[in-house]
C-alpha cells in the first residue's frame, strides 16, 4: 500500500514500515519520527545510520547487539526510542522490523 509521508507517496506494509528503502530520505525519517512523537537529535541519527548499515549487510538486529556496537548503550537506546526501541527505530530508519519466520 501507499502512504503520503513528508509529501511523498511511499510504499509501506500493513504496519507502516517502508517496503523499499530506496524511497527513504531524511525528511521521511523525520516525518516517521514525528508520528512516534520523537524529536530527532544527532544521537538519534547516529543510531539510525548504524541500523541502516547493519541492515544493508544483512546482519540480524538485536538490542544486546546494538548495546555492544559502541554506537549507543542499551540505556541510552531506550532513552532515545522509548518503550520498544528496536521496533520504533527500525521504522524511522526505513528498514524492516526484526522478524521471525512466521
Amino acid at each position: 500500500m501507499e502512504k503520503t509521508i513528508a509529501g511523498k507517496s511511499i510504499a509501506v506494509n500493513e504496519e507502516g514500515y517502508l517496503t523499499d528503502f530506496k524511497q527513504w530520505d531524511k525528511s521521511v525519517g523525520e516525518a516517521l519520527a514525528a508520528e512516534a512523537e520523537i524529536n530527532l537529535t544527532p544521537r538519534h541519527w547516529d543510531v539510525l545510520s548504524y541500523l541502516q548499515t547493519e541492515h544493508k549487510n544483512e546482519v540480524p538486529l538485536s538490542i544486546r547487539k546494538i548495546g555492544k556496537s559502541g554506537v549507543v548503550d542499551i540505556k541510552e537506546f531506550y532513552q532515545l526510542f522509548p518503550k520498544a526501541p528496536l521496533k520504533t527505530a527500525t521504522k524511522i530508519a526505513g528498514i524492516p522490523k526484526p522478524a521471525s519466520c512466521i
Partner: protein, 378 residues
C-alpha cells in the same frame, strides 16, 4: 570429523518434556550413518587454520584439506545473560534446546502442581525459530490432558513485536493464541534473571514473574569457530548466502547453522543447502564458477497441540502463505492451516530423518529451491 559419538534428532527435544518421545527415539550412533567409503575421524578439534588448509586436533594430530565443509552448528549460551545459569538453573529455569535441559524439564513437569509457566526467547537468531511457540502450544495441550490447564498460566515472552511477525502468518494464526489462552509479552529485551524473586527483567525495567521459566538462551556458533578466528561476534562464519562459500576462504564451504546467512536455522534448510553445496563443490573442484542457487528455502511442520500441526514453506524473499503442498491445488498437506494430516507429517518426519535425510537421499516431490505454485501470495 566429529567430536561426538552420538547423533541427536534435535527436533525431538521439543517432544521429550511432554513424554511424547523417549530418549532412545532421538539418539543414535553416528557410526551407523557414515558410508563405508568415508573415513570417520572422531576427536575434538583445537582449531582450523584456513590460511594453511589445516585442521589441528586436540590430540596433536593435523589434518590437511583441499576443501573444507564447516558444519559445526549452533548451540545455546545461557551464560550470556546474567543470572540465567544461576541457582535456579534446572530447578525452575530450563532450556529445551539441549538433551539435558529437555530431560530435566520433563522430570519437573511430570509432578508439577501448576503455577506460572513462562516460555521465553532471549534474542534472535535462534535455531528453529518456531520451536518456542510450539512448546507453548504443546504445553497447553499437555496440561489439558492432565486436567490441570486451569492451574497453569502460560505466558509467551519474545524480544520481537509479537508471537507472529509476518503479515500473512499473523492474519492466519493469531486466533490460536486466544483459543489456547496464551498471554503474550512482546518487545521484551531480557537484561537478567532474578533467581531470588523468580522473575525475568528487561532493559526497560519490566519484570515478569515465573514458577517455571522455559527459556531459549542466546544461540551461538561453536567455540572452535572463535578459536579459529573464522566467525562474527556470535561465532557464525560469514558465508555467501546463495553459493554457501565462505566469504573469506574460497575452499571453505559452510553448511547449516554454522553460517551467518539470513536463512532460518532449521534442519530443512541444511538439507536443501546440501543439495546445492554438493553441486557447487563439484564446480569448485573443476575450476568452474559457482552457481548462486540457494534461495533460503525452509519447510517446517509446526505443532499446535491436540494432535494438529501447521506446515510452512518459505525462502529469503517469500513469507509463509496459505496454499497446498507439495502438489499445487491438491496437497495433501495444507500450508499455514492447522490439520491432523500435518501432525502426522511431523511425526512421520522422525522416520524420514533417520532413514532418508541423514543418508542424503532426495525427498520425493520437494525441490531444494522453493516452488511458488499452489500458494496464495495475493
Amino acid at each position: 570429523m566429529d567430536e561426538k559419538t552420538e547423533h541427536h534428532y534435535q527436533p525431538g527435544y521439543l517432544f521429550l518434556p511432554f513424554d511424547i518421545y523417549e530418549p532412545e527415539d532421538i539418539i543414535k550412533s553416528i557410526n551407523e550413518f557414515i558410508p563405508k567409503t568415508v573415513d570417520l575421524v572422531q576427536g575434538a578439534i583445537d582449531k582450523v587454520v584456513p590460511s594453511e588448509n589445516k585442521v589441528l586436533m586436540h590430540d596433536g594430530s593435523v589434518l590437511v584439506y583441499d576443501v573444507l565443509i564447516v558444519a559445526t552448528g549452533a548451540k545455546t549460551a545461557p551464560e550470556e545473560i546474567e543470572g540465567m545459569k544461576g541457582t535456579e538453573w534446572y530447578k525452575s529455569v530450563f532450556d529445551f534446546y539441549t538433551f539435558e535441559g529437555s530431560l530435566s524439564l520433563r522430570n519437573k513437569l511430570r509432578d508439577w502442581k501448576g503455577g506460572k509457566l513462562v516460555v521465553h526467547i532471549t534474542e534472535m537468531p535462534i535455531k528453529c525459530p518456531v520451536a518456542p511457540l510450539e512448546f507453548a502450544f504443546l504445553a497447553d495441550s499437555y496440561f489439558k490432558h492432565k486436567h490441570m490447564r486451569d492451574k497453569v498460566d502460560i505466558t509467551y515472552v519474545t524480544p520481537l513485536s509479537g508471537a507472529f511477525t509476518k503479515p500473512k502468518a499473523t492474519e492466519a494464526l493469531e486466533h490460536l493464541l486466544q483459543e489456547k489462552n496464551i498471554n503474550i509479552e512482546s518487545d521484551f529485551a531480557i537484561e537478567h534473571v532474578d533467581n531470588e524473586k523468580k522473575e525475568i527483567v528487561d532493559y526497560g525495567g519490566r519484570a515478569i514473574p515465573f514458577d517455571i521459566l522455559v527459556t531459549v538462551p542466546t544461540n551461538k556458533g561453536d567455540e572452535v569457530i572463535a578459536r579459529s578466528g573464522m566467525g562474527d561476534d556470535l561465532n557464525y562464519v560469514p558465508t555467501h548466502k546463495a553459493t554457501l562459500q565462505s566469504k573469506e576462504y574460497a575452499n571453505v564451504f559452510v553448511l547449516g547453522d554454522a553460517s551467518n546467512i539470513p536463512a532460518s536455522k532449521a534442519g530443512s534448510v541444511a538439507h536443501f543447502e546440501a543439495e546445492i553445496l554438493t553441486d557447487n563443490i563439484l564446480r569448485f573442484v573443476k575450476g568452474e564458477p559457482l552457481k548462486e542457487e540457494f534461495d533460503g528455502h525452509a519447510n517446517c511442520f509446526i505443532e499446535t497441540g491436540n494432535g494438529k500441526a501447521l506446515l510452512i514453506d518459505f525462502n529469503y524473499t517469500h513469507e509463509p502463505v496459505e496454499g497446498t503442498f507439495p502438489f499445487p491445488g491438491v496437497g495433501p498437506l495444507k500450508l499455514l492451516k492447522e490439520s491432523r494430516m500435518n501432525h502426522m507429517g511431523k511425526l512421520a518426519f522422525r522416520w524420514i530423518y533417520w532413514n532418508v535425510l541423514l543418508k542424503g537421499t532426495h525427498i520425493p516431490f520437494v525441490s531444494a529451491s522453493m516452488s511458488e505454485a499452489g500458494k496464495k501470495y495475493n
